[in-house]
């Protein structure tokens, strides 16, 4: 495209949101076309018709989950356990960090710095090669534990900043009316802090789902692993990867929309 064409394209998209949307769709179609043409050039055989059998199988009139669906179940199961453990570890870490115990805050700080300054993948290898033989844990739980400690470092920070963000004056007001420290937490600080924490905590679940894909490195049979296995068997790289990415996107984007909704609600209330 030359300059005048670019300018014309620009002016068109300024005219109305519908035209801009149309342009966007044209652009996306163009991107798709480039991908498809590239695939055609390397003689790629599209086999989309083979995909459904990896999602579900029908046997004697009854539906059974296909390979990818089974993988998705494992991903969701990991996410479920991780969420619970992450909240627990994150909460303990946050409390230890804010406590007046020197060893507690030291331990929490060391843990946070180590997790923040090493790659998740290296942590996973450490857990898999070093800690899991020591503790005799299987692959699945190795993955769960590793992800838990990784995500919990973020959760700890979310909880801490949520509590810190409650105005100092609120503590002082609590003191002024003679509330104990526990009651001040329970009736004044937490009711204000928890709504603030909810959107970022939900965002953290999204990250958890995304990061859980990494356990395919240690061959936990999650969605990504199943996808890689199928590709190794059938060479349907494009179809499987797009399907896998699509499944992740559906889940994470749904949660993203939920987070946006939560954030708006919190903002209205405060």
């Amino acid at each position: 495209m030359n300059r005048t064409q670019v300018r014309r394209w620009w002016r068109l998209s300024q005219q109305s949101p519908w035209i801009a949307t149309l342009q966007f769709l044209i652009f996306m179609a163009l991107v798709m076309w480039v991908v498809l043409r590239g695939a055609a050039e390397m003689g790629y055989q599209w086999q989309w018709y083979n995909i459904p059998e990896y999602l579900w199988k029908e046997y004697k009139g009854e539906l059974y989950p296909g390979q990818l669906t089974k993988g998705l179940m494992v991903t969701l199961e990991m996410t479920f356990w991780c969420t619970i453990f992450t909240l627990l570890v994150g909460l303990i870490t946050a409390l230890l960090r804010m406590s007046n115990s020197w060893s507690g805050s030291l331990l929490a700080t060391i843990y946070l710095e180590v997790v923040r300054n090493t790659p998740l993948l290296v942590q996973l290898y450490l857990f898999y090669f070093v800690l899991s033989p020591i503790f005799g844990v299987d692959r699945f739980w190795t993955g769960v534990i590793c992800l838990t400690f990784y995500e919990a470092s973020f959760v700890a920070e979310i909880i801490r900043s949520g509590i810190v963000s409650v105005d100092r004056g609120q503590w002082e007001a609590g003191d002024a009316v003679g509330l104990s420290r526990r009651d001040a937490y329970r009736f004044i600080v937490l009711p204000q802090a928890v709504p603030l924490m909810l959107p970022p905590l939900t965002g953290q679940i999204i990250n958890l789902i995304k990061h859980s894909a990494i356990v395919s490195v240690i061959a936990v049979a999650d969605l990504t692993t199943e996808g890689r296995n199928i590709i190794a068997d059938t060479f349907m790289s494009f179809e499987i990867w797009f399907t896998v990415a699509g499944i992740y996107l559906v889940i994470t984007l749904t949660l993203s929309v939920f987070v946006t909704w939560l954030e708006r609600r919190v903002r209205v209330r405060t």
Binding site: Q14, F24, L96, S103, N117, T118, P119, V122, H211, F242
Partner: protein, 298 residues
């Protein structure tokens, strides 16, 4: 916080006892398991030469796999942050443009990247890049070029020319991935400048471009730098993922050394320490720079 009201003197509480007991129990359990059940014999002497060793013929220190891996990791991170910052600035400007088409393109890019697992993103892109884009761009030809300058550039960028195309593919994957996060950093930085600054600039008859260049960007840059520095550290860490597409950076080398020596405990602890040292050093340096910048602002 309430903790600030207490005196700073070290005091022991029941929490300390609990924490220390837990730590001791953990350490004892690990040591007992390693020594008696697994019967693992530590041999650091076997692993350390993979960092660097003394060549017996020349008597000089020679870097070995792990250190070379670390160097490649740093190459990826440094070149990667430049490319992804470029992507981030362009996309960030699109993201706040008043042109809906550009906003939609940038938004799609950001949401796609941020909502797919990094692993899946890298696999898809690597597959696509290495099979289609690399031949198209003629990267392989570049690496085989006769020109001395090109050869020098290739060596500077990738180290080993024979792995150049592979390196470039990994680099592009990583940059596209991080670019989405930097896009949001740039957007947030620009949007954090109060609307009044735009209005003041415009009310004096400056064009949108002039307001952006002379008023908004200079202020936005100082707000973008700290999160960008942080993103550099994240980039160092995220670069470990490209080991899965056979880029021979630190994590890849660690897997290799672990397999060939079967000294997995030492190798992985050493690798983690290497990453930690690099990242933590960056944290310290960036914090120092930030404090200095704060101070110079009067």
């Amino acid at each position: 916080m309430t903790a600030g009201r207490r005196n700073k003197k070290t005091r022991w509480s029941w929490i300390d006892l609990l924490v220390i007991a837990a730590v001791i129990a953990f350490v004892v359990f690990v040591v007992v398991r390693v020594e008696t059940v697994l019967r693992y014999t530590w041999n650091w002497g076997h692993v350390m030469p993979f960092l660097a060793y003394v060549d017996e013929d020349t008597g000089r220190w020679v870097t070995n796999l792990l250190l070379e891996g670390l160097i490649l990791t740093m190459r990826l991170a440094v070149i990667g942050i430049v490319i992804s910052a470029l992507i981030g600035v362009v996309m960030g400007l699109c993201r706040i443009s008043n042109n809906l088409f550009l906003r939609m393109v940038a938004r799609t890019y950001v949401e796609l990247v941020r909502n797919t697992p990094p692993l899946v993103f890298i696999f898809i892109f690597y597959f696509f890049l290495s099979s289609q884009l690399m031949p198209l761009l003629g990267v392989d030809d570049l690496a085989r070029s006769d020109s001395e300058f090109v050869q020098w550039m290739v060596r500077m960028v990738a180290g080993d020319p024979s792995l150049f195309s592979n390196f470039v593919a990994g680099l592009i994957c990583l940059s596209l991935f991080e670019g989405a996060y930097i896009t949001e950093i740039v957007r947030a930085g620009i949007q954090s400048i109060p609307r009044g600054q735009w209005e003041a600039g415009k009310s004096m008859g400056l064009s949108g471009f002039d307001v952006m260049r002379n008023v908004i960007l200079p202020q936005a840059v100082s707000r973008i730098m700290p999160p960008l520095a942080n993103q550099f550290i994240i980039l160092i860490k995220d670069s470990s993922i490209v080991s899965l597409i056979s880029i021979q950076e630190l994590t890849f080398m660690a897997v290799e050394v672990g397999v060939s020596t079967s000294r997995v405990f030492e190798v992985w602890i050493l690798t983690a320490v290497m990453y930690f040292v690099i990242c933590y050093a960056c944290v310290i340096v960036f914090n120092w720079l930030e404090r200095r910048a704060e101070r110079s602002k009067r």
